[in-house]
Symmetry: C2
Subunit: 628 residues, 2 copies
């Protein structure tokens, strides 16, 4: 009898500890406790959500949610109490919901729950979905779009909203910046309304990407010229229609005159003229136009691509309506594993700016590589002050895969994006630890080891893909593997790897110094001078700014070619270590399913890292060894 | 003209920085400065050496060497001054020589030269050469013996003596412990005298290993029985003869009744009876008998080999003459990459004890692996207090190879041995930094990177060879590669790998707990209990003390088999990193020749580490995976 009891006990423990997880719950609480009595002093759909979360998951006995008009911040909150009894105060109901999630986060990682005061650093904390209306996702690596038009999965969208609210995201652009004109038709707008209604209690406003030529393509006008009266009227009517359906609609995100998209330039109008037309249409309803600075090739053909955004937008600075925000990628090129910050943030000072970060790992191993982007974003904020920014957008990595992001560890990038949009002074390491504790295990060994790996993983990716400032030597189109010899006569030169690395028998790298394209001159001091001089240019950006001889002596005395070999090799060795640790040491901290899935992906990562190393060292060695 | 001048300057700089080095100068100064005036208040051959070193290499203007009878320590010294002017004081001339070398060491690494006071921690700081009379060296991996009998290379022996004096070594056993009886013949003793005369000014006394059966083998007696009167007389006469030639002769080192060597056991006499006979012969001349405890197989056949030394010697403790010292290897087996300390150090308290460390890398990759043994010796001194020891012996790694040790980094083990014999409280890391600075470069990056690698290298070796307490699974005889399936019916069982790892479908490891051979009981508390219990046994000695199921859960939650895989893989990955760093990043800190030679050996090490991993994981996997 004793033996049977023991067996039963063992089985129970076993069942609990090896609870099958598929990653769908993300970082949200795993087990309902339902031990707490939750009271409030106000009522709303949002407060109901907050109340429900604490009722279900707060493991103490008492929680109180209080609207407190004495507080000043519309989205902030305070927490006072302890793990047994806690009081959340906020000026508005969304603050109470954010506070409730913060209580649960602190509970999960045994954090402090007293004298907590939180305010978001940015007013706009947005996801940009590059989701097409047919369900496909540009640069999506986790299945099809969660926005299933005309067949919306409401339960899934609630989970999506809940996850975002739990990290403070308050805006969502539902469709790809390469936007279909159909997005603004009534049938789609009725669907958008459903999504907006669903997201509203979670504090999330809906935005749409628009195609600048929409009125013309839909056949309502003969042109899309922003100076054309009919066109301007069409947008005003359309804005009115949208706000009649969705009164708190956020606004438009616009990719114009970029990579084949239509824009005001088609009619010899400026970006300002185009943006202002839309801004005028949205202004009566307090809507916002978010206008992307990611443009190249149209008006500045032949100019160094990384200079074109400043060339294009700096003369327009100050000419935009008050409800226009410019949105600029963190770096001047295109979401490479490492770029210098975009000088747009130095040169545009009269117009509000938003930073566009890429959560989806287009250039960092997609959903096959464990690459934690927190350190990259920490690095960005070393150069770009939060005060200069009106908000943060992140290109989402979310799809219909059961685990949302394809790779379990890609969830950490979604999480870290939200946390940094709330407070960009958080360290990526602390965020990693928070996330690991909630998502996998609070075991000290596990959290220490895996947070160390996560912290290092981005530099490792740089090492095995494009160390020392190399950039854009990916295989064409899919951007996963290496293609350093890539050149296609039929493609724009700015899409070709050989254009970016400029390797020859003398050396390697793109000369952007004052003797080259002078891209350095777009930076504020001390960066302009620092990047300009070979001796002071940070070595991790060396080949971004300079064409350097293979025998150039690095700060540690090795030659450039030796240093390149070192980084490629070290990147591979590091990934091998990650896989070794995960495969042999982490299994028992993690449920079988997620362990296996991460393990499989780490194997892929090792293979791909080796491919990067082998292909790049062979190709570059052909030049470097010729010289020696 | 300007151009030519520039070219000449460039050439000069180039020549200096890439000065061809072959490793022969060891850690000793590279460039004579000859700027200092050196004065003394006494004269001797030793003081002449000290004076010459400072005259040649002290880069200041003034150095003073003072015999100071007020000082109390025969070998210690003080240093006062600075890099320009320095005063060394000592009670005896050898202290002045040690002080002079310390000044040069401090000069090389920019160390402090004021208020320095140094005393050696051990009276005996000895090298044991396992050199045979035919020039071969047992477990030597750096060419033939530097002791070329009847053709002595005096210049080479001066360099040898100088190097040893520079790190405080004061004794040298010239020949193999598996000793030839010929060693004590007059013709050899005349040669030994030449060596002794040559080493004397450097403060180094000469010792000889003796064959216990010498009088019988040479045909002077019919037995070697230590109770036999003629035998006893023979040894007395021989001692007298030796001291008439070499008045400061150190004494005998004896390997008796061990691995086929003759000894008192051949006549049913104890080790004490054998040692005391020799001690009585040497006593009139203040000579010492150093008697090795490395015995197994003779009187204790069938007993766990690691227990036999205590079984054999504990009953004899207190029965040895005052001029007998027992010499015991650091661990109870045989110089494995990791062993627990030898319990002889716990159990022998009435007889002086010396620790025998192995500088030559018999079981740690020989002269093909960069394995720095400083951390192993630091570990030993965590368990064995210096107060318990009369001295330290190190089995030398010196041969006629131009760089002395085969591998440039093996010089560091010679150096570290000397420094630790002088002061066992020094950290291996500080010693590594000292050595790197004097031997290669004081560049901060170089020293940081390479000292980090050196510090880690021993644990890495343990990982790729025999992690978690595995031991003695080397290929037979040469002890370089792996042979976990090793079994030879014609060999003693204690030489066979399968006997040591005991792997089967249930698990792996040698049960030395109280349920097994009870070797744990030979340890003092708390170690006896700690090692006995599976739960408290340190994981890095787990399989030394326990037979453990493959599915055993390690402290981090992984299974034993997973942990084993982790360590083997990590060992290889680490060596790959060392090679990568050296190959690509260290080239310009180091002259071409040494860089190339170390690089070649690191390649060998990578290959061998992979062989260890692949062979062991395949072999053990055959058991482990069967069980799962």
């Amino acid at each position: 009898m004793k033996k049977i009891l023991f067996t039963l006990l063992t089985l129970t423990v076993f069942t609990l500890s090896s609870w099958a997880e598929d990653g769908h719950r993300l970082w949200l609480p795993a087990q309902k406790s339902q031990t707490a009595h939750v009271s409030t002093n106000a009522q709303s759909a949002t407060i109901d959500l907050a109340k429900q979360e604490l009722t279900d998951y707060f493991a103490g006995t008492k929680a109180t949610l209080l609207i407190d008009p004495a507080l000043t911040d519309d989205e902030g909150f305070t927490i006072n109490g302890n793990e047994d009894s806690v009081v959340v105060r906020a000026r508005r109901d969304i603050g109470l919901l954010y506070g409730a999630y913060d209580v649960l986060r602190r509970q999960a990682i045994q954090g402090n729950m007293n004298h907590v005061e939180q305010h978001p650093r940015f007013r706009l904390r947005m996801l940009n979905h590059w989701d097409n209306l047919d369900g496909s996702i540009e640069r999506g690596y986790a299945g099809e779009s969660i926005f299933e038009w005309f067949h919306l999965d409401e339960a899934l969208l609630h989970q999506y909203a809940r996850a975002n609210a739990s990290i403070g995201i308050n805006g969502s652009v539902l469709n790809n910046v390469n936007a279909s004109p159909k997005m603004l038709t009534r049938e789609y707008l009725d669907e958008v309304r459903k999504i907006a209604d669903l997201l509203r209690p979670y504090g999330i406003r809906v935005y749409l990407s628009i195609n600048f030529a929409t009125p013309m393509v839909l056949g309502d006008t003969r042109t899309a010229d922003p100076k054309n009266k009919r066109v301007r009227q069409w947008w005003k009517r359309k804005a009115k229609e949208i706000y009649s359906i969705i009164p708190d609609f956020g606004g438009f995100l616009v990719k114009a005159n970029s990579e084949g998209q239509p824009g005001p330039g088609d009619y010899h109008r400026t970006h300002a003229e185009g943006a202002n037309m839309l801004a005028d249409a949205l202004a009566p309803f307090n809507g916002t136009v978010i206008w992307r600075c990611f443009v190249y090739g149209a008006n500045h053909k032949g100019e160094d691509r990384v200079k074109q955004a400043v060339s294009e937008f700096k003369p327009l600075d100050g000419k935009f309506r008050e409800n226009v925000i410019l949105q600029t990628k963190n770096g001047p090129l295109d979401f490479q594993p490492r770029e210098p910050y975009s000088p747009v943030f130095d040169q545009i000072s009269e117009t509000p700016n938003m930073a566009e970060l890429q959560i989806t790992q287009e250039y960092t191993g997609q959903s096959h590589h464990l690459v934690y982007l927190g350190p990259m974003w920490n690095e960005f904020f070393q150069y770009v002050e939060p005060e200069w920014l009106a908000g943060i957008s992140g290109v989402a990595n979310i799809g219909k895969d059961r685990n949302w992001c394809g790779h379990h560890f890609s969830q950490a990038n979604w999480y870290a994006f939200g946390r940094l949009a709330w407070d960009p002074s958080l360290s990526s390491e602390d965020i990693a630890k928070e996330w690991l504790g909630q998502t996998f295990s609070t075991d000290e060994n596990f959290v220490y080891m895996m947070s160390t790996i996560m912290e290092e993983s981005r530099e490792t990716c740089v090492d095995y893909m494009m160390p020392l400032g190399l950039h854009h030597i990916f295989k064409f189109d899919h951007h996963y593997g290496p293609e350093p010899d890539g050149f296609k006569a039929e493609y724009p030169l700015e899409w070709c790897p050989v254009y970016y690395h400029q390797a020859d028998a003398n050396g390697i790298g793109f000369d952007r110094s004052s003797k080259g394209t002078d891209a350095v001159s777009q930076y504020r001091e001390p960066y302009a001078s620092m990047y300009d001089k070979l001796e002071t240019c940070p070595e991790n950006l060396l080949l971004w700014f300079h064409h350097v001889p293979w025998t150039y002596q690095m700060k540690d005395g090795s030659t450039l070619w030796e240093s390149l070999q070192y980084h490629y090799n070290q990147g591979v060795i590091n990934v091998e270590t990650y896989h070794n640790i995960w495969h042999n040491k982490m299994r028992h901290y993690v449920d079988e399913q997620r362990w296996r899935e991460v393990d499989d992906r780490l194997e892929d990562q090792v293979q791909n890292a080796r491919e990067w190393r082998d292909v790049c060292l062979k190709y570059f060695g052909g030049f470097a060894n010729k010289k020696q």
